[in-house]
Each structure stands twice: as C-alpha cells, then as structure tokens.
Symmetry: D2
Subunit: 307 residues, 4 copies
C-alpha cells in the first residue's frame, strides 16, 4: 500500500490547484452551499488497507451512488426477475430523460438512471413498506462501511422532495404503465431518502469492496451477492454508470463507476480495490470534474484499467 | 492450452444441437444462402496458441467487425482529432438509426455504429483515395491475421452497394452537416468493401490479438497502436460494440466485443487472448445467437470477465 | 332549417346500422359501461334553430371537448400572454405524449393536447383557487348552453383522478420547468373535473355557437370573446383538435373540431352553425367513429367545408 | 376590385419600410444574391381580376410552393392510392426532418414536407421518366398561369443538386423502405427542377385559382381536379403548408397556404381568390417575413379568413 499511498498523494497534490473548478449542484440549497474546494480520495484494497488523501473522511451527499447499493439489495431480493422490470442498456440520454420511457412503455433502460432506480426502489418496498425499505438501505450501507459513519441527511431529503417534480413525473409515468406497485409518494420518499445519504470517501470505498471481490465483503467476510451478480452490477456500472457520459468514462478511466450529483464517484477495480473520490465541482456531463480526473490518473498509474 | 481446448470443445459440443437456430441475415442473397448450421470458435492466446472448434477455419463475411480495424487505422492516422468528428457514447438506438444524427448535427455517437464507421472510413480516404483506403484496410487485416486468409468478397460488396440505401442515406445526411469530406460514392464503396471482407474465426482471433496485448501484435512483434489507444478501443467495444444490445453483452459476457450481421463476434480478453466465434443465426438483437452463448460460457468457465 | 333537419335525419338513418362499431373508452368504469349503441347529432344555427337526431339530448362525458371552453376562458383572462406559456402548433404526437415537452422545455405544443390543457387550466386557478376555477368553467358552459343541462359527473372525476397517472406525470414535468404555478393536485383536480362535465349534443352545439359567430353568443346576445380570438380558437381546433389525426379530420371534414374520448365531437361551421355529434365507439385515432363519419357527410351535403 | 386594389396598395405601403428585414436563404448562391428589398403582392379573383402591388410581376424561385402543383398532378394521376404512400398529418417537425420517417417506416407525414414531396414526385415519374415528369410539371404550371411566364432556372436546379445532401439522404432513406420506385437520381433531379421553377406573384396567383374554385380553373374554364380533391389540397395546405409553423399561419392568417424558401407564399381564399406574396427575407420559421405579415393584414381587412 505504500506505493498506492504515494500515487494517491501525488494525484491529490497535482489536482489540488484546480479545486473549486466546475459547477456545484445548486438545485437545492443544502447542496449549493457545500464548500466547492473540498477534494477527497480513498482507495481500499481487498485486505482493507486504505490509501486516503484530502477530505477523504468528510461525509458528503452520495446522491445517485446510492443506486448501486439499492440495485444490489433488489437483486438479492428479487433475483433475475428484476430484469423484467428494468433493462440493462445504456440510455444514450440524460439522467432524467422521460423520452425513452414512452417508447419503451414504462420499462426504464437501466437501473442507474433515475427512472430505473425508482423501479428498483419500488421493489424494496414490497412487503416492507416505506420505513422498512429506508431502514434496509441505511442498514446495508452501514454494514458495508465497516464502522465509518453513514447517515441520512433529513434536510437534503426534504429539499429533494420539495423540488423533485421531475422524479415525481417519472414515477407517475412509470406507474401509468403499471411498473410501480407501491404508492408513488412512498416510493419517492424512499428514493429521496437514499439520495440524501451522507458518507465519506472512506466509507464509500469500504462499502463498495464486495463489488471488487466477486460479491463477498472481504472485511465482514460475508457474501453479499453471488459472484455473477457482483460482476453484472459492475457491467451495468461500466455501460450505464454516468448517464450519457458513460462511454467517455469507460474510455478515459476503464473502470466500472457510478457518479452522484453531490460530486462523488465510486469506482471498482475488480479483484483489487474499491475507490471513492469526491469534489463538488461538476463538469459538463454532470459528474465530478476533479473526481473524474483523479480516477483517470489513478487507473493510468496503477494499470488497473480492465481493458 | 489443453484446458482451454477442452473448454472450447465442451462449449462447441453443448451448443451444437442448437445449430441452425436464429435468423440468418437475408438482406442480400450472398448472406442469405450461407449454411445456417455452421458454428466455429477460435481462441488465440498472447503466445499464439490457438484452441479451435467446429468451423473455425471457414471464412465468413465479417461485416461490422471490420469497424474495429478501421477504427484502429483511423486512430493511428488521425490520433485524438478523430474524436472531434465522432463520439464515444453508446447510442441506445439500433445500428442504422438516423434519429440521433439529426439531434447531434452530424456527429455520430460512436465509431461502431454505421454512421460513425462511415466517418471513420472517410478519414482513411484522405490523401489515399478510395482504392488506397481499401487496400490499406485489407493489408492491415492480412498483416494481423498472420497468414490466415483474408479476402474481399466482390459479390457481397456489390450486393451491399446495390441495396445500401440506408447507408447512402446516412452518408448524405452526415455530408449535409459537413462531416464527410470525400465523395460520398467513394466513401460508401470503401465501406461496403470493408464489410465484405471474408475471414475465418482463426484469422479474426489472430487479427484481434493486439487489442488484448496493449497495442502490440504479439506474433508479428510489432506495435500497432499505443497502449492507451488499444485500451480505449476495447472500452468503446464494451460500451458500443453491439448496437442497442451492448449493455446486455457486457452483462452476460463481460468482455469487449464487436458483432457482425454475418454471425461473427470478435471478443477481447485483455492480457489473455482474442476470441472469435461464428454462427450465422442471429438473435433478436441482430447478433449471433450461438456466438453470444458460446462467449458467455467461455467467459464463465475461464473467469476472463473483466469484472 | 327543414332541409338541414332532413340532412341530419338522413345521415342518422344511414349510419344507424353501424351503431356499436368502434371501441368504447375503457380506462375508467364509468366510461366503459356506457351503451355503445347511442348516437346523437345536433346542429344549431346562428338563429338558434336546432336540427337534431337520435340521442341528441342524452348527456355524455365531454372529456377533452372541455379544452375549447377553458381555452376561451383563459384567453379572456390572460389575453395573448397565454401564448408565451403554450404554443399553437400541431404536435404530430398522441394526445398524452411527453416527448415533445422535454425537447421544448415544458412549453406544450398547443392548448388542445393534455399538456397544454393543464397549463391553460393552471391559469384559471390564478387568484381563484381550485374551487373558483371549477365553478367558473361550469358556469361558463351553462351560460352558453342556454338552459340545456350541464353537470359535473363526480364519479367520472373521481375515477379520472384515481387513474390519472399520465396526466400527473405531465403536470409534474411541466412544473419542473416552472410552467405550472398552482399546486399540482389542485390543477389536476380542476382538470379532471372539467373532463368529467356531462352535456348533450344539443347543449354542446348551443354552447359552441359563439365560435361560429365571431365571438358573440347569438342566443344570449353577449360577446364572449373578441372576433379575432374566436377565429383563432377555430384555427387551433382545425390544426390541433384531434391529436395526431387532426390533419385527417381537416382533410375529410374541413371544419374546425374538437373530439373527446367519451365519443363526442364539437365542430364549427363559421358564420353558419355549431354541430355536436356523439357516439361512444372510437376509431383507430381515438375519436368517435360514427361521429367523424356523420360530420364528413354533413360537411359534404351542406357545403360547409371551409375550403 | 377597386377596394381590393386599395387594400393591396395600403398593405404594400405599410410594409414597404420593412423591406430587407429577415434573412435571405443562402444555401445556394443563386438564392443568396437575390435583392432582399423586393416585395410583391398579387390577388386574383375568380373572374380573373388582379390587384397587384410592388414587384408582383418579377419572377422568383418558387421552391416548395411547387409541392402544391405536383400534389395536384399526382392526385389526378394516382387518386386516393397516393394516400397509402404519404400521410396527411402535420409533422410537428422542421421541413427536412428525418426523425419521423424512421418511426413511421418510410411513409412521410404529408406531401408538403420534403420527404412527402419526394414520394409525390416519384409517382409522376411512373411511365413518364424524369424528362416526361419534369415537362408535365412545367406544362401544368404554364397552363394554369394563363400566359404569365413560368420557367425553370437551370442554375438554381444545378445548385440544388450540388448541395442537396439532405434531400438525397431523405430519398435514400425512403427508398430503403421501398417507398420510392424510380431511380433516386432521377427523382431528385425532377424534384430539384420543380423547386427551381421561377414565376411571379401574378403568375402564381393565377396558377392557384383552381384551388379557390372547387377544382376548376376559372380562366381556362377547365376542371383541373374534382371539387373534393381541391378542398382536400387546401386542407393539407392549412394543416401542413408551413412545416412546423403551420399552426401559427392558420392562427394568424386563417387561409390555406404554402410557403417557399425563396420568399414566396401562395394562399387560397376559398370561393374568392388566390393570393401570392413574395419578399426574400425569411423569419424565424423559414417563411417570408413580409409575406406572412401582408397575408395577415389582407385576411383581416378582407374578412377572408375561413374561420
């Protein structure tokens, strides 16, 4: 890990002068007032060794990164039946596009766009209700984070709900095709809650280790999902993890990843490590500008690209 | 390689009863009359060892698989400038869709859909003309195939040209936005010619080895493209190699690949091997039914999934 | 009017054998159980003379025909400013399509598709609230109907609300772009209420007379809207009154019209008469099959086509 | 006609100060160099009386206005069968959009967008060849123009052909679906030739009289098309005559019309007159800015709106 720590330090140092670049998400006040100059990196290998730099222990709003964890939970509960309700193809459209849903009659393209994540979350409410589902999601992430704090930010959740007309539109649209089964307000509530989870780079990287380790959490020594399932989640992250910039991320970084509008990105280096980066300034594609650059450098210097 | 030969034999035997399933491409007579029961597999590792089964030495029409090789040639000639004329995002649309081109003003989504391949081919005509470009493509594939026959099927090329109204439409459309520079008929001629190249699974697998070997052809011991370039071609294959079924291929197989309507698929196992499969019967997504299943089994049994 | 009564009788007699053809709207029980064999025609000229046939005095659910009356009210209140919030171009898409809204950032194509009607209705709530707006709409139609009953069917309104996910999706989508100002549930409530208005052919034809008379209700002898406004509503009915079958209606009938999924159609013969037809069986385009045929015959025999 | 001449003079005088506004079409040199300050109006009533003003006798490139005349010819030859190959719905898209063609499998929305006009022209080549079709079109317009010059501008036709990649794309696309039957280059040649026809406002207004007179040319005293056919062409002009600004034209003017990119507009006042206006400067929707304003004023002052 010494080498890895050096690489992480180097990358952080190289990119630090650019802290503050990009545009912080401003659609809700709680995100808009985040200090744009923060920048953290955490790499955790399969033995649990961590190489961290910068603000790696500062919790941030993980937003859409939560979709990876709810997808895991839903696959554990529903198995392959989930794929009758959501596809696994890249959308070629922005994260909250409703156009494809109309042509494809309420079956979202993949579980990592908003429409698909709403369907995934809907399945978590079956037999558990909104409170049960919300508790399950938080508990799952806490178990995976191995003691690093994982909390739900009530202010963010409330703000998301108050301004989430586009997600409400998506949910109603999907419901019109019969592909949401639980009450729409409940589904939206759990969805806004999962997006409002706060965790640090270190917590996220730990939490994602099972994806790098064929489905087994190497620190808890517990199987989370079968090996094929873990690989398939990585495949979906590779082709769909960054909305309509997924191809570019695969091209530049070469690792499965999932970004969030809060400025975090979780990436997986299969059989090696999980990586989380965070910097609030977003680039043109709506993903963390410094985070993407850091991952590009990391993949180049470690040779961890899967290609 | 003994183990690998066993795996290849097993997979071929398991799938042989299903030979003839799927629908053979019938838009031109030369493809329609191919014997649907043919089925070949070839795996070639970085030392040049080959494990083959079935009709692995029978030449077939490689069709869109040629796009991987013209992309390589174009990147070698144009470098990163190519990416100003073609994107690298999955299209989320069928292979010959024209819809996105309109919204995106003549910049095709990626080089592996027809529109993008036409632009890539156009760059190969610059300063070389149609004959020069056609000769370059054939020569490149022959060098890579290491002595296995690679030919151009004049009947297929002529048929493609006679019925290629949709590609002519795409080319004119792109030209209307100024993103094709050479005479349209010349570009189409070279494009139809590259699609009409005939090669066997063995030839294709050998030809694709440089993609598995960081850009160096391990048999000719020659660098074909820089390591980053090779990785990036693999990334584009992973996210865009199978039109609107790319996500499913990544999900099921977990390897970069490119399919052709002739029933062939070229897949890359980075740092391990190149694989070519062929069976003319196509599944719903327009890719080889048995070929896809064979690659799924191969990836599962070798553990070569990149995820 | 004798001649006109003869024409109306003839048309009713000719089409009566086909009563029951087409498909009755079945998305809510209250519409699904309507007797499909009903068929009414009412023509009212500018002097108030009525020629009626069949079930012309039976109230039915006017559904989208209400959009003509709310558009009139909204233009009276907002004037030309309304056209900054809704367009006046045919959509080329089905009545409840959400695709264009995305491309056009929340400005619906025209006021006669659902999205546009929601914006129109939203303006009626300004300063009046939901109850005030609902009362205004009903009062306006009652004044125009000159004593013929106009009621709101509470069961239909409740059913629409319970199943109106697609309209809820549209409203939330528009709200996301800031083009709905009042609470979404209030807007939807008024909208579902206006669609649930029940009126007979005779009532509707009387109510629509001001459109044929340059904006003056000839029976109440009251100006409803200025002459240019009335003509423009007719123009919008001509180009947009039947969703993606508007061109066909103009082609076959040649009169401005507006159809409803309950099987009614209101048509305007400028400077001559207003016409309402009703038969619940819908054709492929979602408009009354017999109603459309009756209007085609009427326009041909009276020479009232505007072309 | 004295009153009408006064109205025409007034309108010309009022708008003359704005001559030169708008943007002259510049995609071919022959259009780009037209003097932007020209502005003509011609109104011809059913008795052949003409009220003209400004440059009403100067020939200009009629461009898409030719689609009205080829549609007439095609209906005379093919009858209702034409409507199996082209629709009659507004497209809701710009004049040269290819998107709908894909969804609707090669059946253009209507005969007044480029795609539809190509299909219409294709039918004129059946049994006549390219030269025969081109001669038929010119002869038809000359007969209708009653002695006013109608010519084909060879330079414009050649320029259109040299730059008409988008139309070539459309034609190939339609051909891919089997909805063009004659050789593509022939169809394009005739199409570019019809667009290159030059005629004055006076010639055009005379030529369009049969549309205002139930299909009978009142000057030649010859039936051109049956009455229903003439009315239906007017209906298509009303709903589709100005691409994605057709609704606005109906709203503002209230007459069936067809615009051309050369700055001309032909409008029909049923049972009254035909009107042609011309001024090269185009507004945002690609139709003549002064021409549209002149027609709006004319319809208002004559009361000729059909609504």
């Amino acid at each position: 890990m010494t080498d890895l720590q050096n690489i992480v330090d180097e990358i952080h140092a190289e990119l630090s002068p650019r802290r503050g670049e990009g545009k912080v998400a401003d659609y809700i006040p709680a995100l808009a007032r985040v200090d744009a100059k923060q920048f953290g990196i955490a790499v955790v290998d399969l033995d649990g060794n961590a190489a961290i730099a910068g603000d790696a222990k500062t919790p941030f709003s993980i937003q859409s990164i939560s979709k990876v964890f709810t997808l895991t939970l839903a696959l554990c509960r529903s198995g392959a039946a989930l794929w009758t309700r959501v596809g696994r193809e890249p959308s070629g459209s922005p994260f909250n596009s409703i156009v494809q849903l109309e042509a494809e009659r309420g079956i979202p393209r993949n579980p990592l766009i908003n429409a698909g994540a709403l369907v995934v979350t809907d399945t978590l409410l079956d037999g558990r209700g909104a409170e049960g589902a919300a508790a399950d999601i938080l508990a799952f992430m806490r178990e995976r984070a191995g003691g690093e704090p994982v909390t739900r930010d009530a202010e963010v959740a409330a703000s998301e709900a108050a301004t989430g007309f586009r997600n409400a539109s998506l949910a109603n649209f999907i419901r019109a095709f019969g592909n949401i089964h639980n009450p729409i307000d409940d589904v939206l509530g759990v969805y806004f809650g999962q997006c409002a989870i706060a965790a640090s780079c270190l917590a996220l990287a730990r939490a994602g280790l099972y994806l790098a380790n064929e489905g087994v959490d190497p620190l808890a020594k517990r199987r989370v999902i079968d090996a094929a399932g873990a690989r398939r989640i990585c495949a979906v992250m590779m082709t769909c993890g960054h909305y309509d910039a997924s191809g570019d991320f695969a091209f530049r970084v070469g690792l499965p990843g999932k970004s969030g509008v809060g400025g975090g990105i979780l990436a997986v280096a299969p059989k090696r490590a999980a990586i989380a980066v965070w910097s609030p300034g977003l680039g043109a594609a709506g993903t963390s500008l410094l985070g993407g650059l850091a991952l590009e450098k990391l993949a180049a210097r470690t040779g961890w690209s899967v290609f």
